[in-house]
Symmetry: C2
Subunit: 320 residues, 2 copies
């Protein structure tokens, strides 16, 4: 049998672990709980045990495992394999996570930012397959990013590149969680889309979303898209604001690393073609007339597995 590559998505409440063959086909998966105040050594041991248990339960020899990839939120020194900080895991401060995990499981370990891991997953097996220059946005609570240029992830000078949610599109605009004003994340993330709608309704704007707010006490991004689809004028305006903000950052990225394909992922893409079409509409409206652009804008295809697939793919690359 083929070599096995393990892909891990390290979250603050859950650690997802996938086992893949050398073609990156999923063999199986397991998961283990996590806590925000977990000790790094405990997390490392937990991961080691979960891998060993899965292998034993499935009659797979540990020797089959070629390497392990791990994607996580946080700040890193990737070349040294350090996790410098992690908003979801408070005790991960300057932790030599790569070395610790590698020692515990006796395999080479690759560490990667979670946005980059998911981007690499879509590049390896999903919507970015076969494309050497791509840009990736995850649309969730916040907006994450990934850039692949000439077939390689762009990490930046200190492994903090591709923070694409913090491209400024409206200087002096809405305050973002990062402290900047006017970030695309402050307009077009799921949270910001919901918040813009709720603010408008609370401000007295006429909308079918008023009933939602009165009944549930809040408006979600899903509500906004649903009411937009049903024809509510305000919900349409808010949706359009989100689509336009995303179109602007597509244009900005086209003029930067010039991707051939731009892939949107994350919970928000459940809104489907209605949202994608509006993004494309505003892209066409706002893009220059200097020359015709042929960049493809599309949705991711791997769903929540992009992270573990990408981490496994990075583990596979590292072994080559």
């Amino acid at each position: 049998m083929d070599e096995i590559f393990v892909g891990i998505d390290l979250g603050g409440t859950n650690i997802k672990i996938g086992f893949f063959d050398s073609q990156l086909e999923l063999i199986g998966r397991t998961s283990v709980g996590n806590k925000a105040d977990a000790e790094p050594a405990v997390v490392v041991d937990k991961i080691g045990e979960a891998i060993e248990e899965y292998l034993a339960d499935n009659g797979l020899a540990s020797e089959k495992v070629g390497a392990v990839g791990i994607g996580s939120t946080g700040q890193f020194n990737l070349s040294e394999g350090f996790m410098i900080s992690n908003p979801n895991l408070k005790l991960f401060q300057n932790v030599p996570f790569k070395a610790m995990l590698s020692e515990r499981i006796g395999k080479p370990v690759v560490l990667e930012n979670d946005g980059n891991a998911a981007c690499w997953g879509e590049h390896a097996c999903g919507a970015g397959k076969g494309v050497d220059d791509m840009v990736f946005f995850t649309l969730g609570t916040g907006i994450g990013g990934g850039i692949i240029s000439k077939g390689e992830l762009v990490h930046g000078s200190a492994d903090n590149g591709a923070e694409l949610g913090h491209l400024i599109i409206y200087p002096d605009g809405r305050v973002c969680g990062c402290g900047q004003r006017g970030c695309v994340e402050a307009y077009a993330s799921a949270n910001s889309t919901a918040k813009r709608a709720q603010e408008a309704v609370e401000g007295g704007a006429k909308s079918s979303l008023k009933k939602v707010l009165d009944e549930k006490g809040e408006i979600t991004c899903k509500d906004v898209f649903e009411h937009s689809a049903k024809g509510d004028k305000l919900a349409k305006e808010i949706t359009d604001g989100t689509a336009k903000a995303l179109a602007i950052v597509c244009i900005d990225m086209l003029h930067t690393t010039e991707p051939k394909r731009i892939v949107f992922a994350g919970g928000m893409i459940n809104a489907g073609d209605a949202l994608l079409e509006r993004i494309k509409y505003y892209f066409d409206e706002q893009i220059w007339t200097l020359k015709k652009e042929s960049v493809e804008i599309c949705f991711a295809t791997l769903g929540e597995d992009a992270g573990i697939i990408g981490a496994a793919a990075l583990a596979r690359e590292a072994g080559r």
Copy 2:
């Protein structure tokens, strides 16, 4: 004696040619006139003759020349060595320029976009020396760009990357020559800076620039910076608008390829520290508080020679 590398800056009215040793020290230079409607074959021959003449006049054997680099405005297919179009040279449409020039002079030729060539020059010998991740802006009539990531120029999927003058900073803002609205070029190029001032004065704003407009019939960017230095309120506001626009794109690039250094070049940097300090001021004001950034923002050091030095440096790389 050492090998010689030739760096060429191909313009619509002038062709600058520099001769460099393998340490990229300038040996000497020559130039030859050009015309917007020149035939490609004629231009190629002109360049060949100019190089031969310079070498003969200086007692240098043609065998010493290792390779030739050429930077030019226009759109390219760099891997094939084609110039697809050139706004300054109308007859350069789908011309296999690299092959033509290489055949004429009997040396390897490297073709590059002029912004990238200047960026590479500053990287090789100027303000970006020793920095593997840098971003480069030329502030002139328009705004050009260049990106170096992990020691390599970022060309993009179709050799049109790093069009950094067309990052959109004010959606639905001022119309740019490219057809977009709100490009940084529409605010912060020398032309746009002058134009914003002139519009304000023509619109009745009180300013010492009014006298300039009355006497010369127009306001230049230099006038704006001079009057700003003398304390004119409007000129200061316009200068600040330029500095802030440039700071925003510095932040956007930090969140994209995360340069260690951002280098501004072009005629506008003659404004000196007064301008640089304002760019840094707005960078500090607008950047996130999530973590401290240490990107260096500075001015180029090679002046107008950056293009020929960069072209020669690219020629030298190609031979390695």
